[in-house]
């Protein structure tokens, strides 16, 4: 929430109003006529779903001064579930947009977002309209300049003090006194050398000993050196934030707001990296036979199959052979659940973020069926047209960065899956042939296309031996593609 909104709600909280009452104040009825403005209605952020708490205005469909009728779309609102259009039920004119751009993020339900009027001639009156409560609270704290209270304080220092008034307050006592807005330097101190401790200040507050209010220093511009101070607040006001000094950044930067999908990805993968003990096993596999098979399919049978589809099929067969990798760890019961079906998710890079659509029952699909399914899912993923059940779930994931030129990489496991296979691109390398003892002529080294596959596995579900078994099964299938027939 931005500062203005936080202040507004703190104002309301002080008045003891609940959120419900704020909504019930008929913000949308035309009975709230502010002085000097013609009859108008404040359009509140609607609750577009029963669980919606706040929404972000993705885009305004109208501009100030536009007319609208029943059925026209004011704006599209991004909620926790989906992006929905906010339609008008009535006719009218949009006089002023109150929230747009960066101010339109995470607006709570019920907060006014625009001003609408019924008569066209009233539009002009709202050109400078500012929502009343958004005017910043004028009791904004001034930055305190120095640690010490001013020496021109009229209270005489008590007898027996060995330190100057500047240093008489121990840090915790000073903090406490300043947060209450009081000057505690006049108190008799029980600390060393007559210093005032926190206990003294607490006792003074409890017993009602008079402490003069903390004098505000004249507002000299804050210097970076002395600026890390608790700001002097008006007496009785709650403690306010630290004044962060303006920092001279080198160069400019741009804030890129995350859309919902990226936020969800960020949250889930952080959780994965933090909660799941990852370990990695790599294997290099030879792709030559697969590439030969591909060429044959295209040339003889006009069937286009990509290396990724073969990898997916190999993974599904390897999962069939090593079903321990096709599981989930349930932290609540500390148990490993082995899934019955093999559903492989494929990582697809879309403009909005990385999404992993699922190929269900992968082991039961043939190579061309996998190709078609992957092509369909990837296409629809890029357009954002996937149904939730098509990307939620899955028992294993395959991520292929070969087309981007990556040799090898390690992927993050998508919870609640147990493993993810990260596959690089094939590179042509010189491979030595085995040394044959006693042969007249050793065979020449050959050039093969080698690809590195790295499995990131959840150590709670899969141990190193099982992962190795899986990788050798995978290598087994991919080096000899004729085994894919089985």
């Amino acid at each position: 929430m931005n500062t203005a909104l936080r202040l507004r709600f703190s104002v309301y909280a002080q008045r003891g109003l609940t959120r419900d009452l704020i909504a019930r104040r008929s913000i949308h009825s035309s009975f709230l006529v502010a002085k000097d403005y013609p009859a108008h209605t404040l359009l509140p952020m609607p609750a577009l779903s029963p669980t919606m708490e706040s929404g972000t205005i993705a885009e305004w469909g109208l501009q100030e001064g536009d007319s609208f009728s029943a059925g026209s779309v004011f704006c599209s609102v991004e909620t926790d579930k989906a992006t929905m259009d906010f339609e008008s039920q009535d006719d009218g004119f949009l006089a002023k947009i109150l929230r747009e751009g960066s101010g339109a993020v995470d607006i709570p339900v019920g907060a006014p977002i625009a001003v609408v009027v019924e008569e066209e001639e009233d539009i002009g009156a709202f050109s400078d309209y500012v929502l009343e409560a958004e005017v910043p609270v004028t009791a904004a704290p001034e930055a305190g300049e120095s640690k010490a209270p001013d020496t021109s304080s009229s209270t005489p220092a008590p007898v027996g003090r060995e330190v100057s008034t500047e240093h008489v307050l121990l840090p915790s006592a000073r903090f406490l006194a300043e947060s209450k807005g009081l000057d505690a330097t006049g108190l008799p101190g029980s600390g060393k050398g007559g210093r005032v401790t926190k206990g003294d200040v607490l006792a003074a507050i409890a017993s009602g000993t008079f402490m003069p209010p903390l004098a505000k220093e004249s507002a000299a511009p804050v210097q970076a050196a002395s600026a890390m101070q608790p700001a002097a607040a008006t007496p009785g006001a709650p403690f306010t934030d630290l004044e962060i000094p303006p920092v001279d950044t080198m160069g400019t930067f741009e804030d890129v707001a995350n859309n919902n999908m990226r936020k969800v990805i960020a949250r889930r993968l952080t959780e994965s990296k933090r909660e799941v003990p990852h370990f990695y096993t790599s294997m290099e596999v030879e792709l030559d036979d697969v590439l030969k098979l591909r060429k044959q399919l295209v040339a003889d049978h006009d069937v286009k199959v990509s290396v990724n589809d073969v990898i997916i099929r190999c993974c599904s067969l390897a999962l069939r052979d090593v079903p321990e990798v096709n599981g989930t760890y349930d932290p609540k019961t500390d148990a490993i659940k082995l899934q019955n079906s093999i559903d492989i998710s494929i990582a697809v890079a879309t403009p909005a973020g990385l999404i992993t659509p699922i190929v269900p029952n992968t082991d039961k699909l043939g190579l061309s069926e996998i190709t078609d399914k992957v092509r369909d899912l990837a296409g629809r993923a890029r357009e954002g047209k996937l149904a939730p059940e098509e990307y939620q779930g899955g028992t294993f994931c395959v991520s292929n960065l070969g087309m981007f030129g990556i040799d090898e990489f390690s992927a993050v496991i998508n919870p609640p899956q147990a493993a993810i296979l990260a596959v690089g691109g094939g590179s042509r390398r010189v491979v030595p042939t085995p040394y044959i003892d006693g042969a007249e002529e050793q065979a020449k080294p050959s050039i093969k296309t080698i690809m590195t596959a790295r499995l990131s596995a959840d150590r709670r579900v899969v141990d190193e031996a099982t992962a190795s078994l899986f990788m050798s099964a995978f290598k087994h299938y991919i080096s000899k593609p004729e085994l894919l027939l089985l």
Partner: protein
């Protein structure tokens, strides 16, 4: 108060119009019949008072439903909320053709029907807010508005369940028929999505066999929740669904056609000819309920097209202006007035308080359980077994 206007039955209104101006409107092409030798009239005469009252009722319904939408989005109303805007002509036409002695039962989309039958905007919206002055005393909510005095048997939440009950009401009307007078009819309104419910076929069969004065009224708004009628029903001519039972299809956006069609139906059924199927071709602008945006299964263009070409309010405004009963300025002034009235009633409803705790235990049992004084016949086993007649016998 807006409610008093609608208590006077249509018949009384017509007889007072001898000295008022009236205009003939052409409604040919609004009807299709099935198994009928006769048909409703091709033109209808309407007086200024009738048209103005219909317009005001429909506009009140529209404003009330829009207000419900706004209040729901402001979270002052929660739970289920099924809105009727776009279909106002159906309720208004039926209300003007039938009397308050005819029984009316409808589905959960019942706010506007409740408004017609003994309701006011503050009572209906108050029911949604949950105040003690609400239509059902805040015990029913959006879907369960009920008013026995005006023969309105609710608001029903279960899809299609109101239709067999409606047949029962028709049976009661036939049973209570006064000799020499036509029977009061019973009308059950349900949607195209409900039309294939098995219980409706059963009710239709019994109504036909016993020749009950029952009107099966299908409000065809083309979508059963989110499924279009081509995809949820293999028969799309709902007025022919009665097979041997005669049917009538009416353009449900034309309030005069609805009124004339319903008058025809009341005459037919009240004379003891048996039940009748009526299909009202209508449209709803909102989604199925407030949880449904209404745009995932249909285009916005379709909704805008219907709003601009077939809107029932625009139609009746056009009728008023063509007959020169009201000028454009008068219409706008009426609209403004009704808006203010609706707003005032909603504010009044908002100020009311929820029912007290003493209401928690009322409306559960019959009021008086003394044997012999009971509202129910003696053979009904009362909830308190000790007070049942059979036990005391």
């Amino acid at each position: 108060m807006l409610s008093s206007r609608f208590l006077r039955p249509a018949a009384a209104r017509v007889s007072a119009t001898r000295f008022m101006s009236s205009h003939t409107f052409d409604i040919s092409g609004c009807f299709e019949t099935h198994n009928f030798e006769t048909a409703p009239a091709e033109s209808v005469e309407a007086t200024k008072d009738e048209l103005v009252s219909m317009f005001e009722l429909m506009y009140t319904m529209r404003r009330m439903e829009i207000t419900c939408d706004n209040e729901y989005k402001a979270r002052t109303i929660r739970g289920f909320c099924h809105l009727y805007d776009g279909q106002e002509a159906v309720a208004t036409g039926i209300e003007n053709a039938l009397t308050h002695d005819d029984s009316w039962i409808t589905s959960y989309r019942c706010h506007c029907v409740a408004l017609c039958r003994g309701g006011s905007v503050s009572k209906v919206v108050g029911e949604l807010f949950g105040v003690a002055d609400g239509y059902s005393g805040a015990k029913g909510g959006s879907m369960h508005m009920y008013n026995k005095e005006h023969n309105f048997y609710g608001g029903a939440g279960i899809v299609g369940a109101q239709v067999p009950v409606g047949s029962g009401l028709a049976f009661a009307n036939k049973y209570n028929q006064k000799p020499g007078e036509p029977m009061n009819v019973a009308i059950a309104c349900y949607g195209d999505g409900a039309a294939n419910q098995g219980q409706i076929w059963e009710a239709a069969n019994m109504s036909a066999l016993w020749k009950l004065p029952m009107i099966f009224c299908i409000e065809n708004n083309h979508y059963g929740m989110g499924t279009s009628m081509e995809r949820h029903s293999s028969i799309n001519d709902y007025y022919k669904m009665g097979n041997a039972i005669p049917g009538l299809r009416i353009d449900g956006m034309n309030v005069l056609a609805v009124k004339e069609g319903m008058r025809f139906a009341k005459e037919y059924c009240g004379a003891g000819n048996g039940p009748m199927y009526i299909e009202m071709m209508t449209y709803r602008y909102h989604g199925h309920s407030m949880s449904d945006p209404g745009t995932t299964y249909r285009n916005r263009e379709e909704i805008d097209f219907t709003r601009s070409t077939r809107d029932p309010l625009e139609f009746i405004k056009k009728c008023l202006m063509d007959a020169e009963f009201m000028t454009k300025e008068e219409i706008t002034a009426t609209e403004k007035r009704i808006r203010k009235e609706v707003q005032a009633e909603v504010l009044e409803a908002k100020k009311s308080s929820p029912p007290g705790l003493d209401q928690l235990t009322t409306d559960i049992y019959a009021k008086d359980l003394t044997p012999g004084n009971q509202a129910y016949p003696d053979f009904i086993r009362m909830p308190d077994f000790a007070n049942s007649k059979t036990f005391n016998n």
